[in-house]
């Protein structure tokens, strides 16, 4: 049995050595849906943005002289799996920070875990407002976000609608889910700030295939601009119905329409008709173009580029905060996140992106309008968008 003891000793020694070696590394977790639900496309895109950021950080010498390692977990779009991943990342993998998730529902299911265990989380995709506000009154809120919050998107869409519509004839058409009705509420409230009352507010079932009757009413009300709140498939049906009744007003939508399902359902020509909110597009600048090319190597069918860019920037902000705090301790990093200056990201250079009370790193001033062109999304510009002033964005 001596050989066995010897073997065991070496094995243990090796484990200890490698263990300490690993302890040198800084681990950052990524937890999002990459296969399960309809948002998987967003999660996959985010994953490659996340990995690109880590690669860049390591190339530049890591954080505090230590190598950064990404720990990737797929939550399959289900809350239980997402909770399990989160526990595993924090307790077993001992990550110093987490980037994720894609589904707002999953985030809401595990917010308490990082909050209790003092692990900073930057949400790169999920847009539900409550994610960053639930613990806003705690001594330290560990939840941050670099993504497109629903209400901020509405602020952009409403601002465009008001400036674009000649007779201020704007209609709101939303699906009957919580998401759609929340959107209607936001849009009506924001339009009211502009002093505009929608000429029609209609709803449709998320699985409806024919929305011609609602659109006929919107047409009869004289609307020349329609704001649509629906997921990619619902919005695609809206456009198909518009084509049917030969009524194609200016149509605005949220970033969910970045899903490749949208142009597949509408066809290339009709897909170009929708103008949607996006945080960035691949054609914004040289950095976004380069990141898009890198992500495409691993994910050739990429259409959800903003998620890659937002994940990339999330990691960059975490890295900058760790450097500034000179530590990977969660509490210190979270405090540093609230006090960052001049962090270079892909979407923009972040000057004080977060404060004690404000954990949304992006807001309406950072957003663009975009639209489909073939199988990619490009920036949309016209005389209205060029004339936007910060004061135009009421929210």
């Amino acid at each position: 049995m001596n050989w066995f003891k010897g073997f065991a000793k070496t094995a243990i020694a090796a484990a200890v050595v490698s263990g300490t070696a690993y302890a040198q590394d800084i681990k950052i977790g990524y937890n999002a849906d990459m296969s399960g639900s309809g948002v998987a496309e967003l999660g996959i895109s985010g994953r490659w943005g996340f990995e690109a950021a880590i690669e860049d950080i390591n190339k530049a010498g890591g954080i505090l002289g230590r190598k950064v390692v990404g720990v990737i977990r797929d939550d399959l779009g289900t809350p239980p799996k997402s909770i399990q991943n989160m526990t595993e990342l924090i307790d077993n993998e001992k990550v110093s920070a987490v980037v994720g998730p894609a589904n707002s529902g999953n985030a809401l299911a595990w917010l308490h875990l990082p909050q209790q265990k003092k692990i900073p989380v930057v949400v790169p995709i999920a847009t539900g407002s409550e994610i960053t506000t639930r613990y806003a009154n705690d001594a330290q809120n560990y939840l941050f976000r670099i993504s497109m919050v629903d209400r901020e998107q509405s602020a952009l869409l409403a601002a465009y609608a008001v400036k674009h519509s000649a007779g201020k004839k704007i209609a709101v058409l939303a699906d009957s889910t919580g998401y759609g009705q929340g959107g209607t509420k936001d849009a009506t409230a924001i339009l009211e700030l502009h002093g505009v009352k929608p000429v029609a507010v209609e709803k449709f079932g998320p699985k409806d295939t024919d929305i011609t009757s609602q659109l006929s009413k919107i047409k009869a009300a004289g609307a020349d601009t329609v704001i649509v709140y629906g997921l990619a498939d619902g919005t695609a049906q809206v456009l198909r119905s518009m084509e049917k009744i030969n009524y194609l007003p200016t149509t605005l939508g949220a970033w969910g329409n970045l899903s490749s399902l949208f142009p597949k359902m509408t066809g290339a020509k009709l897909s170009e008709h929708l103008i949607m909110a996006a945080s960035t597009t691949e054609d914004t600048n040289a950095k976004t173009k380069a990141l898009g090319e890198r992500v495409r190597k691993n994910f050739p069918t990429l259409t959800t580029f903003p998620c890659a860019a937002q994940s990339y920037d999330s990691v960059m902000l975490i890295a900058a905060a760790m450097k500034q705090a000179n530590s990977t301790d969660g509490a210190k990093v979270a405090a540093a996140l609230e006090n960052l200056q001049g962090v270079e990201g892909v979407i923009k250079t972040y000057n004080k992106p977060f404060t004690k009370t404000m954990h949304e790193g992006l807001n309406v001033n950072d957003f663009y309008l975009a639209r489909w062109k073939g199988d990619t999304v490009v920036k949309f510009e016209d005389s209205v968008t060029k004339g936007f002033q910060p004061a135009d964005f009421k929210k």
């Binding site: 709803k203 699985k207 066809g267």
Partner: protein
């Protein structure tokens, strides 16, 4: 306004014909066994996915890939129809032997639970194979909107309407004019008497389930280019189809067809007025029909002699 009404009529008829097809599936098995497959909606889902995957394989793609418009020709659509009918027919046999036969003649509603369960199994298998995101199936007739009297119609909607009416007419003729139809009606009347007359009752009953499952599969294949194939689309469609059968008369195939078209039209017309009132008006109608004519608009009152 006239154009809007015409528009609503077209979409109502297209959707109504899908309800009618699935409702017929309820009718056939109800007449022969007094049971039906509560998993019809999931069978429709299975049909849609089998059709999409057949089209993908015919176009030389992976069965989970993406179809281009040009890759869906009428010939391929026809082949995928055959594949769907064959596979769904087999599933019909399985559902009969696994979920209906063990419970026939037993008191209680065990078959309700077993067919719902079978449907859930099918749905989850589909979820495991194809995943939760919807799959797009281009129409073999293209997506160029046709203008009829000012209203816009998709070619697929016309195809759905024509194919389902043709299928219904065929079934109607078979049921009323052929020996096979006579046998089915005999089994419906009394299976004991039918056995005594030398009719192979088991064969007729299995056939009924094969036809019922195939109808659901065809409905899936027809509707997929309009809705996309989604694992979750079955329940609503099946519920509306069941409502159609109840309104028109579960025991009468013509009643089921009438019910389907009626519901489709009501949905579209009420939607023209107030979209939120669609479901309310349909289920109010069902309650009225059940109170005033419980056997359905065209159903026959069954007087059971004790």
């Amino acid at each position: 306004m006239a154009v809007s009404i015409l528009q609503a009529m077209f979409s109502g008829l297209a959707l109504g014909s899908i309800y009618a097809l699935v409702a017929l599936g309820f009718n056939i098995t109800h007449n022969t066994t007094k049971t039906f497959n509560f998993g019809q909606g999931e069978f429709l889902v299975a049909g849609a996915f089998i059709a999409v995957s057949t089209l993908l394989l015919l176009a030389g793609h992976d069965f989970k890939g993406t179809l281009q418009q040009a890759e869906v020709t009428l010939a391929r659509y026809g082949l995928s129809l055959i594949a769907t009918v064959v596979i769904m027919g087999l599933l019909g046999v399985v559902v009969y032997y696994a979920a209906i036969r063990p419970f026939i003649g037993q008191p209680g509603l065990a078959w309700v639970m077993s067919t719902i369960g079978f449907g859930i199994i099918i749905q989850n298998i589909a979820l495991a194979i194809w995943g939760p995101s919807p799959m797009v199936m281009p129409s073999p007739l293209g997506s160029e909107v046709l203008r009829i009297g000012g209203a816009g119609v998709l070619p697929q909607e016309i195809l759905v309407l024509c194919v389902s009416i043709a299928l219904m007419l065929c079934l109607d003729v078979v049921m009323r004019r052929t020996r096979l139809g006579k046998a089915v009606r005999a089994v419906a009347q009394s299976s004991t008497a039918a056995t005594l007359m030398g009719i192979n009752v088991t064969a007729i009953v299995v056939l009924a389930f094969v036809v019922s499952a195939s109808l659901a599969g065809i409905a899936g294949l027809l509707i997929a280019p309009i809705t996309t194939a989604s694992v979750f689309m079955g329940l609503t469609l099946a519920l509306k189809a069941f409502s159609s059968a109840i309104v028109g008369g579960l025991s009468n195939p013509r009643g089921c067809m009438l019910g389907g078209f009626l519901l489709g039209l009501i949905e579209a017309m009420v939607g023209l007025w107030h979209a939120e009132l669609r479901e309310i008006s349909i289920f109010l109608l069902i309650i009225f029909v059940l109170v005033l004519k419980p056997e359905g608009l065209l159903g026959q009152r069954v007087v059971e002699k004790v």
